[in-house]
């Protein structure tokens, strides 16, 4: 393979790695190509921050390392990546999609960003997302939504919408995302890319602007399971010095078991994921994918997750409660926005936060404050935490009968920007299939399995038991070797 640089963006991360290791192309050439491409496609609104000089400096350093450390096993050295703007970075402004943090410069890099940097990855920039990762359409970004490359009148999904759109539009071969209630899986599905959210605690949360501490997890988004495996192997691992909730489980090489046979594997099909709420076009694509898995030797087992619907109120109590507390630090004192005009301290707080936060964020702060306030804690937050355990137990029951669980990521394909923007509850209900796994802290991923209405991508969700990321990636990889849905590119890209 000896591509002219115009084709570089069509290559996956692992293909680019091959060219780099073979010295067919330099890290700087790759970076320049993607930066130029980002300029020509700026209308998609995926990037919130870029710094050409800084990126090229990183690429140059990577090229040096490639020369110096010839032969050493550094699969990611010199490859480009872009980060969801929920990760704080030293070299790029970090806004979390909020006016509150417009222009904010962090004195440190998030652990995940640092780990990828240590491996020699080159940062192309920061990617658009819903404000503080609260949303499923990217319309809650204070800087305008990213657009879906398959139809730029539609949402790329959210909250990691910029990440999904950037990968789908070939503006970067890989991106980081974060998933609290589906924020990696749903945009991956809407944009036809591959994304995985690991077990809660696998990846450090240090340097992720906190939304819901007991749910937030970082994960990669790319064009294939193989690429995700390469990235996840570096992103995971304990962070004892920085994150008390990170698990004491050594990082593992998730690429190793990718090609394991899946014959005889039992795939659980939760009946609650296939009810009336599921659009027929999505269902058709999912059914075809499941048939494909049967063809690959897997068997389908009916299972039940009886509290699937309850996960909506449970999640939308717990996440806002934690968020209302996590966002109290945005008070106009130490960093970020401060109102221009105010009468006294209390007024400074009220106006600063009223101006700095967008509507959905305010709504969740209000809900969270209410459910934690005196006299309501037991009825709401505590009750939700109890049902949360029941939901986790339901999964353990299901995993007695199957190895992994499969179903849709979202009930429909990506909707038109603006369609649900004034109906928050409708947005919440659309998260129904991703919330149960999030509440249980289980690993979950989304892989492209075809197209639904308006030729929009459909994603299938794979949910594994705790620490079974390798199994999920193996399943996804085998599927992608047998199909080419993940390789499809949007028109005109």
């Amino acid at each position: 393979m000896n591509p002219s640089t115009t084709e570089l963006h069509d290559l996956t991360l692992s293909e680019l790695a091959g060219l780099l290791q073979a010295r067919k192309v330099s890290s700087v050439e790759i970076a320049q190509h993607f930066l130029t491409r980002a300029d020509t496609h700026s209308a998609l609104g995926v990037y919130l921050a870029r710094d050409r000089a800084c990126t090229l400096a990183q690429a140059h350093a990577a090229d040096q390392r490639l020369v110096n450390t010839r032969g050493a096993h550094q699969p990611l050295l010199g490859l480009p990546v872009a980060h969801k703007d929920i990760f704080v970075t030293r070299d790029f402004a970090s806004t979390a999609g909020s006016r509150m943090l417009a222009g904010y410069r962090s004195p440190f890099d998030a652990t995940v960003v640092d780990r990828l940097g240590q491996e020699g990855m080159v940062t192309l920039g920061k990617l658009n997302c819903d404000e503080f990762a609260m949303g499923s359409s990217n319309e809650n970004s204070a800087f305008g939504p990213a657009h879906n490359p398959w139809d730029n009148t539609r949402t790329p999904g959210g909250s990691s919408g910029g990440s999904a759109a950037a990968v789908a539009a070939r503006l970067t071969p890989a991106a980081t995302g974060t998933d609290t209630g589906g924020s990696i899986r749903q945009p991956a599905a809407f944009c036809g890319v591959t994304g995985i959210k690991p077990t809660y605690g696998r990846a450090s949360r240090y340097g992720m602007v906190a939304f819901a501490s007991s749910l937030d997890q970082a994960g990669p988004m790319a064009r294939s399971a193989l690429d995700c495996a390469m990235l996840l192997s570096v992103m995971c691992g304990p962070d004892p010095d920085r994150d008390s909730t990170s698990l004491d489980i050594a990082a593992e090489d998730f690429t190793r078991a990718l090609s394991d046979p899946i014959a005889g594997l039992r795939i659980g099909i939760p009946k609650e994921f296939f009810g009336d709420g599921l659009a027929s076009d999505v269902r058709a694509a999912i059914d075809a994918a499941l048939a494909q898995y049967q063809a690959l030797g897997a068997t389908l087992v009916p299972v039940s997750l009886p509290r699937t619907e309850l996960s909506i109120p449970v999640y939308y109590i717990i996440a806002p409660a934690e968020a209302s507390s996590n966002l109290s630090r945005f008070d106009g004192v130490k960093f970020g926005h401060r109102a221009e005009q105010f009468t006294d301290l209390a007024d400074m707080y009220r106006k600063t936060r009223a101006q700095g936060f967008g509507e959905e964020v305010k709504r969740r702060i209000m809900i969270g404050t209410y459910v934690l306030s005196h006299g309501y804690y037991d009825a709401y937050y505590l009750q939700a935490q109890k049902i949360r355990r029941m939901i986790a137990d339901d999964f353990q029951q299901a995993f007695k009968q199957c190895d992994v669980i499969a179903g849709p990521v979202a009930p429909t394909v990506a909707w038109k920007l603006g369609d649900k923007s004034d109906d928050p509850v409708a947005n919440y209900l659309a998260d129904i299939f991703t919330l149960p796994g999030s509440l249980a802290g289980l690993p979950g991923m989304s892989i492209p399995v075809g197209f639904g209405a308006h030729h929009m991508p459909v994603g299938m969700q794979l949910i594994g038991n705790y620490l079974q990321e390798g199994r999920l990636l193996n399943l996804a990889h085998r599927f992608q070797q047998a199909t080419d849905w993940h390789a499809r590119a949007p028109e005109g890209i």
């Binding site: 990760f87 704080v88 970090s94 979390a96 943090l101 904010y104 962090s106 004195p107 440190f108 998030a110 949360r205 240090y206 340097g207 992720m208 602007v209 906190a210 819901a212 501490s213 007991s214 004892p240 010095d241 920085r242 994150d243 008390s244 909730t245 409660a321 934690e322 209302s324 507390s325 966002l327 109290s328 630090r329 008070d331 004192v333 130490k334 960093f335 301290l345 209390a346 707080y349 404050t369 934690l372 306030s373 005196h374 804690y377 937050y381």
Partner: protein
Amino acid sequence: MSETVNTFEAQQQGRPTGPLVSGYEVIIGFETHAQLSTASKIFSRASTAFGAEPNTQACAVDLALPGTLPVMNKGAVERAIRFGLAIGAHIAPRSIFARKNYFYPDLPKGYQISQFEIPVVQGGVVEFFLGEEKKSVRLVRAHLEEDAGKSLHEDFVGQTGIDLNRAGTPLLEIVTEPDMRSSAEAVAYARELHKIVTWIGICDGNMQEGSFRCDANVSVRKPGAPLGTRREIKNLNSFKFMQQAIDYEVRWQIEQIEDGHAIEQATVLFNPDTGETRAMRTKEDAADYRYFPDPDLPPLVIDPEWVIQIRAEMPELPRLMAQRFMDSYGLSEYDATSLTQSTALASYFETVAQTCQQPKLAGNWIMGELARRLNVRELTIDQAPVAAIQLGQLIGRIQDGTISNNAARQVFEVLWDTPGERVDAIIESKGLKQMNDSGALAQIVDAVLAANPKNVEEYKAGNSKALNALVGQIMKGSKGTANPQQVNELLRAKLG
């Protein structure tokens, strides 16, 4: 357990459970914030050192910068366990950190990480003497939490400056039952608590720097009546002000009630200049802290093995040490208590006592001559120019009759002024050794008798005073080195 206070029956029968102030019973409970003496903060690796330039010891975590998370300091937990063991409390094998949510400029995260439902130290008792009377105050709990920053109101026109160096300093909040019945008892409790935390080395006890801050919950009631509404006096940072503040508050509450006003629950501050307490401008909605378990911190699990290990490393506690001094050195309770005011003093005493084998004398010298001179020079026991060994040797020389008490004072003087001098060398050079050579003494006696026939006559006539005169003459003749007893014996012998 606490036979001296809160006796239920007395309360039931309407008898006072403590001294009355113009017919009212005073009820006091304490909340003490002790800064734990760790090098780094409770949830970050920044220094806790006092007095640094503003915000130079406030790291990203302390400033609550976006993306930062707390990581627990083992040293803080270890100190909390030490305290629990010192006061005989239950060490919770599993305790929970919660978020206490409220907005304040010196609270960077908009919430304080504290312990709410399940604290690490539960129960326990602090025992102490109020004059002759033994008191004991029950503790409800002691929990770990983080300190806030400081607001500086001076120097900035219409604005307040925020220094977050103190933010994240580990605190142990120690909460008592309302067991105290007078300002004197409250202060005695606070002093004893201060002694304990410094003795076991979990807090430097520096009240000027705010390392040991007391809040007093004060209420009054007629004997037998239910508890009255309490007001909380905040930040009592000296034992002196503590008593003043509580006395003022008690009088104020009684006057209010006598004038027919109800007491309203409030937080008050004591103004040392006016000697008065004044209600703080209550924080808005302070009532609703929206506590919930901090999702950033899994439960604090304390392995019994760890507690056993810490117990093994605990120093002997002051009350037990005082008891031992009484038992094995035969000291009075008063002496034993005074000599166990600090570990330094106690170990100084033990060295002296073991060197001279005269515990009582050792105690007298330390609490007498030594204490006096230390006070004059405002020195602590560790700064005493006279080493414990030297004082021990000195007392030994009194005991074996080498020198008299007066001579010993002269030697001590020299030791004090020229540290490092050897006791025996000083005795030699100043010729303070008592004369034990009877031949030489006999000559002096004969000379004195010959020179004072008048006194001899008077003594023989039965005037015992006359003997003293002769003794005085002889001592003079021996330049004070003669042994008074020997002199007496010789005289009596010669005068038949």
